[in-house]
């Protein structure tokens, strides 16, 4: 059971041309910047490749590749090295930009691509569940965000109201 092995597998998929570009998001992405963030799965954002003759892009080549490498399916997850991994397409312009601007990070000599902290925080703000708000707070408390870049993303992706509400809810009484 190893996230490092999951990253190695995904890097191999990229090298073998199964996916064009990937980036790790979610709690595992946040763990690149914060204390370990408990999670049940690994979110991998990918630009899905279209199959020849098909208009709709499909995750099928990914599943076929991983199945041929001994990985099993579990609902919408692929089990890689004991971890449920979900391959997700960009769900909107913010995630598209996060994927395009993702950065390389070293994991014990292995390169992993991960969303920038500012994008992770903005995506959490946009998603807006309780656990996402907690994650935004973690990013702020650990002071890992480039505040100027984060606020620029907030403005550009129409998250100003969500940010104002978050500030009122969680930051108004911060000493």
């Amino acid at each position: 059971m190893s996230i490092r092995e999951v990253i190695a597998t995904i890097n191999q998929m990229e090298a073998d041309g199964v996916i064009d570009r990937y980036a790790i998001g979610g709690a595992v992405g946040a763990t690149f910047y914060l204390e370990p963030v408990a999670t049940l799965d690994i979110d991998v954002f990918v630009a899905f490749r279209g199959e020849p003759g098909q208009l709709l892009v499909s995750p099928k080549p990914i599943f076929d590749y991983l199945a041929s490498h001994g990985c099993s399916m579990k609902g919408e997850y692929v089990m890689i090295s004991g971890w449920p991994v979900q391959f997700l397409p960009p769900t909107g312009p913010l995630v598209e930009e996060a994927l395009a601007e993702a950065v390389d990070s070293d994991v014990d000599g292995l390169t992993a691509r991960v969303f920038r902290a500012e994008h992770l925080a903005a995506i959490a703000l946009q998603t807006g569940r309780a656990k996402d708000k907690a994650r935004v707070l973690q990013f702020l408390e650990q002071q890992v965000l480039d505040t100027e870049m984060f606020l620029e993303i907030v403005h550009r992706f129409d998250l100003v109201d969500a940010w104002a509400k978050f500030e009122r809810q969680f930051l108004a009484d911060t000493p």
Binding site: S2, V28, F32, E35, P36, E141, Q142, V144
Partner: protein
Amino acid sequence: MTSSLQKIVESKNALRRELASLPVAERFRMLDAMREREVAIRVVAKSHSSERSE
């Protein structure tokens, strides 16, 4: 906030900062360990629930 509560919060924040400063590979090993425990608990819980239903 009372001073004792303030101390607890400060020590928790210090621990979080300490964990966040570990190499990312070490943080991932901690996630791996958490996942292993979660799977083990799930297996035990499942076997207990099937014992109860028998």
